[in-house]
Structure formats: structure tokens, C-alpha cells
Amino acid sequence: MSQADSLPRTSHNPTLATLLSLIVPGSGQAYTGKRERGLLILLTAGVLIFLLGWLNLWVLAPLALPFWLWQAWEARLYAQGRNPGTMRLVLSIALLVYAIGWQVTQIDLSRVITSAPKVVPFVTGLVQPSYFDRQIDTTSIPAAIQIPCGTTPNLSSATDTGPTMRLSAACANPGDRITISGAGFPADTEGEIWFQNAIGDRARARGTDGLLAFVADENGAFSIDALMPVVANSDPQTHRLEAQYVTRVGPLGLSETSRLVIGRMGETIAQALMATTLGAILAVFISFFAARNLMRVNPATLAVYYVTRTLLNILRAVEPLIMAIVFVVWVGLGPFAGVLALTVHSIAALGKLYSEAIESIEPGPIEAITATGANRLQVIWFGVLPQVWPPFIAFTVYRWDINVRMSTIIGFVGGGGIGFLLQQWIRLTDFRAAGAAIWAIALVVIALDFLSSEVRKRVV
């Protein structure tokens, strides 16, 4: 320490300073005349102790040792008239702060490894997005049943070639157990049993363990028990039990998932387009009130400027996702809520950018146009607009790009768009469909990113 010699020697007792700081952090520093630093150390120690207590993280207390010891040593150095620097003090505090942060955020790297299997289905879905599919062909094999049993149970079950289904009785009372036997089904077929009442209402038939499903054996046969439901009419009526299964036929085509993804992606882009356009139009008006150079005219206009600026700042601070939640409550689920949320956020963001573009226009050309004897409109058209429209366009296209990104997730809170599907599919653990949505989002976002940067390059 070369500069140590140049500092004036002080008459403070190093041992006393050390002891003081060991007892009350920072007090030794205060004793040597470094009042502010002492106070800062005391406050830091107080906050750290409070955090450890509040979060019940006393296990981390040993990590406070470097800080405690160093600040005591620092007091000694000050007492000796030397300059300890700030680096080590900051590092010793940072050690504890990061340790607390690590605990608070429950960082547990081992879980990343041990829980890896849980993400496998998701990754599998991601690498096999369900864009293409064979056509689905639904086959229903019916059998009639009379409920409740009447006097003339007169039913015939039509049988022809292909799968057949027989019931253990031709009539039953509500709650009765009927055995359904199938034969001639394709081997290993999985299917569902449905109940269709006399007026055509359909519902899954129930067994003793809930909804009825069947699996045919290698011979195409199955047997399963169904509980007959309560029906509205007490007169005997003919209802239907159906064994239903799907087969995939024909060539690969666009899957239902793809259709949904394309439709909702269109909605997403449209949402972003509407929000950007509406937001841009309103922001253009507002930006004039938020431009200091235009609002300096008198104290009243300056007040308008400050109010506008403050409002814009507050609006911009609220994430669009939170706004979407508010608008979903306000106007209901769906894309409109998303449009409103994105519009408000766009106004705030564009209002600021536009007003800054207005603030940075050069007065020179305006002066020159005015000097030609042009009127106010001509001055704005020839002197102001050519200066502001290129940045306006650039900011707007960029905002559209951002809005597309945002509207892909705004569906998570019910704001419409593809996020709505994605969130549903993730909940239903349909990861192949989720994968399809995620890739589509990535593709569209990248494409728009590229497009917007090209447009920006061209106008500026």
C-alpha cells in the first residue's frame, strides 16, 4: 500500500477500533471519524440480520463471518490511518446477499437432473408436433334396449357382417346391470360405449367404475358391464347403446391440431395488428402533448406535458399480461380483451417513442420553410412530417413485432390467440399438440422479427 504513507497518521487506537466494530459493526469506523461509512455498515448489518431472521435462514449465519471480521479489520486499518478500499467490504456483503437470494429462490440444481424424466414427454411432443394426421373414421355399432321394461319387449337387433354387439337383456330398469358383448371388431380396438336416449341425447355410458370404455381382444371380442341410467319417461321407450371406435384411414393430411393452430395464429396476428394500429393512431395524438419542445409554450401546456408523461410512464410499467387479466374481467374472455390490453400498452410505449421523435426534430428546416412565406399547414407538412414519419413507421413496425410476441402469451390469461390453445394443451398433457403450437409461435415470431427489421432498415 503505497498511498498508506501519504495518509495522515491518526491518534486513534487500532485495538479499540477493532473491538468496537466487533461488538457493534461500523462503530469502530465511526470512532476513527468515518461516520458515514460506519452508519452504512451498521445499517447493512441490521438489514442482513433482519433478513436472516425474517426468512428464518440462520443456517446462513456463518456466511456473515467474512463481513463481520472484515469490517472490524477495516476499522483497525482506518485507526492506523490506512485506506482499506471498498472492494472487499462489498464482496463480503455480496457473499451473504447472494446466499440469501439462492435460498429464497429455492435454487436446487440437483432437481434439474433428478426430475429430468418428467420433461421427457414434453420434449417428445416437441420433436413430434402433430401437424399431420390421417383422417379419422368413427364407427358406431348400435344395440337397442327398452327402459324400463314394459309389457311388450319387442326388439330386434339387426345383425349383418362386421362388428356386432349383443346385450344380455332386451330391456332393463334404471340402475340395472346389462352385459354388453361385442364380436367381430378389429383386433385390439379401443373404443367407448355411448348411451343415446329415445330423443337423441347422447352421453357416455357408465359402468361401475365410471365412464365405459372397451378394448377388444385379439379375436375382436369384448364383454363389459353397463349400468342403465335413469330416464325421464316412466313409460317404456327404446334407447340405444353404441360401441364407438375410431380408425385412421386414408393418406396423411393436415391434422385437426394444425387447423386449430393456423386459426388461432391468424387470430394472434390479427390481434397484434389491431392493437398496434389502434395504439399507433391514439399514440400519435397523445405524443404531441408529451413532446417537451411543443409544450414549452406556457405553464399550462407544460403541466399537460408532465401529466401526459406521467400517465404514459405508469401505463408502460404495467405488464400487458396484467392488463389482459383486467380486460378479461371487463369485456369477457376472448381476443377482444387481448386487443384492449395490447392497445393500452402500445399507446404507452409508442406515445413515449413518438414524443421523443418529435422532440428530436431539427428546427432548421421548419425555420427555412416558414421563411418562404408558407402557412402553418404547409410548414407542418413540409417541415415537420418528413422528419417524424420515418421514426414513427420504424417504431410502429417494431411495436407490431413485440405485440405479436405478447399476443402469443396473452391467451394464457384468457385474452385469445394461440396462447389459449397452448395453455389448454399443456394442461391436458397433449404435448404433441403443444409442440405444434410452440413451433408455430417460434416460426411466426422469427418471421415477423425479420420482416420488421427489414422495414425499419428501409425507412430510416
Binding site: A368, A371, T372, A374
Partner: protein, 252 residues
């Protein structure tokens, strides 16, 4: 004829930029205003067409009191007074030709100009004026693609579109190199000699002023400290205007 009577300008922050200035400019004169930076040259020139509102005093142009003109009268006065600037003040993103055409704004209706429906005569004149200043080939370039000297020539062409009787030039060559400065000054001199445009031009360099002026006014702290012929400024005068330590620099 231009008459300036007891003109004063006090800025909002209390700066006295002009203090009771009076002088006359006769038709056809090439009057150069010199003075140190901050002496009030720009303020004076801008007060004449009221780009800056004078605090008191009068500007009389061809018998009309400019300082008392209402907005539409003021526009009519302005369109007869061309102006060129140190930083050219072209609209950078617009083509050169459009920049030149804006010189006609005081003469055409707002609707026509905004729709870009310039008359054939105006277009032809714009091209002719660009020809005159030697950059007709740049007519369709964006203004900011031109060099400084070329931009100032566009500025001159724009001013010419106004059919000006008076040209105000605020340090028209201060951001140009010496050779280009002379070429631009020659164009201004040409307007003055051949078209009879009265010129009121502020300049930094005395040598330039001596070359082109028919008369020189010197400003110091907003007051006229010299008014006379270009050859009347001797060393004593020079030090009076520019301060004791100043050394004259030649621009060739």
C-alpha cells in the same frame, strides 16, 4: 428599400441581443454584417422577416411596416424575402427538387402544395434554378446525399424560387471550406449583380466581407460599431470590432 429603426431584441432569459439598431439598406446593395460570435448577427437577420419577434423597434420593407403586419401580410412579405442559412436547413429526407419547390409555398395554395400538384411552370423554374447553380443532375437525389456546398446551392435555388427582392444570408459559408465558400459567395454575388437582388449577409471572415460587400456593418454586443465601405476597416477598426487580441485571417 429596407429600413431598420431602433430595433431591440431581449430574449426571454434577459439577454440583450440587439440594442436600438438603426440602419437602411438601399436597393441593390450587398450589405455584409460582421461581428464576433454572439454579437447578434443571426438575431438581426431573423428579426427582419420575424422568424424572431423583435422586442421593440420597426422594420420597414418597401414602405410596409413588417413589424406591424398581420399573419397573412407577414407571409406575403416573407415570400419576397429569400433566406439561406449556415446549416442550409434543407428538409433532409425530401428530394432536392421538392426542396427547391418549397420556395414557392408562399405563392401556391396549401392544398395544391400538399398534394404535390406543382404547376409545370414552377417545376420548370425549379429545374432552371438548379441548372443555374450547377446541380440539375442531383434534382432527384435526397437532399442529405449532397455535399455541404451542393446543399447550400440548393438553398440558393430555393430562395430564388421566391422571386426575392431581398436575400437574407446568415453565415451562408461558415460550414464550408474556403474554395467552396467562394463558389457559393459567387452565386450570391451573381444574384446581386445580375438580378438586382438586395443582399443582407452575415459573415465571419472580414476578408470575405471585403471581397463581396458594397457596404459593411459591424455589430458588437448588439450595437452597430461600424458602418461604411469595405475598404474603410483599418487595423484600429478591426481591433475595435473583434477585440485587442484578434489577428486577421485571410480566406482565399
Amino acid at each position: 428599400m429596407l429600413e431598420v429603426k431602433h430595433l431591440s431584441k431581449i430574449y426571454d432569459d434577459g439577454t440583450h441581443a440587439l440594442n436600438d439598431i438603426s440602419f437602411e439598406v438601399k436597393d441593390g446593395e450587398f450589405l455584409v454584417v460582421i461581428g464576433l460570435s454572439g454579437s447578434g448577427k443571426s438575431t438581426l437577420l431573423r428579426c427582419i422577416n420575424r422568424l424572431i419577434e423583435p422586442t421593440s423597434g420597426q422594420v420597414i420593407w418597401d414602405g410596409q411596416d413588417v413589424t406591424a403586419a398581420d399573419p397573412s401580410q407577414l407571409r406575403r412579405v416573407r415570400r419576397q424575402i429569400g433566406m439561406i442559412f449556415q446549416h442550409f436547413n434543407l428538409v433532409k429526407r425530401l428530394p432536392v427538387l421538392t426542396n427547391v419547390l418549397t420556395g414557392r409555398l408562399g405563392y401556391v395554395s396549401a392544398a395544391r402544395s400538399i398534394l404535390g400538384r406543382w404547376s409545370g411552370a414552377d417545376r420548370a423554374r425549379a429545374m432552371a434554378n438548379l441548372e443555374l447553380v450547377g446541380i440539375a443532375n442531383k434534382a432527384h437525389n435526397r437532399a442529405d446525399e449532397l455535399s455541404g456546398g451542393q446543399q447550400q446551392r440548393v438553398g440558393i435555388a430555393r430562395a430564388l424560387m421566391q422571386d426575392p427582392k431581398l436575400l437574407l444570408a446568415d453565415e451562408p459559408v461558415a460550414s464550408l471550406d474556403p474554395a467552396t465558400s467562394h463558389s457559393v459567395m459567387k452565386y450570391i454575388e451573381q444574384l446581386n449583380r445580375e438580378m438586382g437582388v438586395t443582399v443582407l449577409c452575415s459573415l465571419h471572415f472580414l476578408s470575405l466581407a471585403r471581397t463581396y460587400a458594397t457596404r459593411i456593418i459591424a455589430l458588437k454586443d448588439g450595437v452597430i460599431v461600424f458602418d461604411g465601405g469595405p475598404l474603410d476597416i483599418d487595423d484600429a477598426r478591426f481591433r475595435e470590432i473583434y477585440g485587442e487580441e484578434a489577428v486577421e485571417v485571410e480566406i482565399r
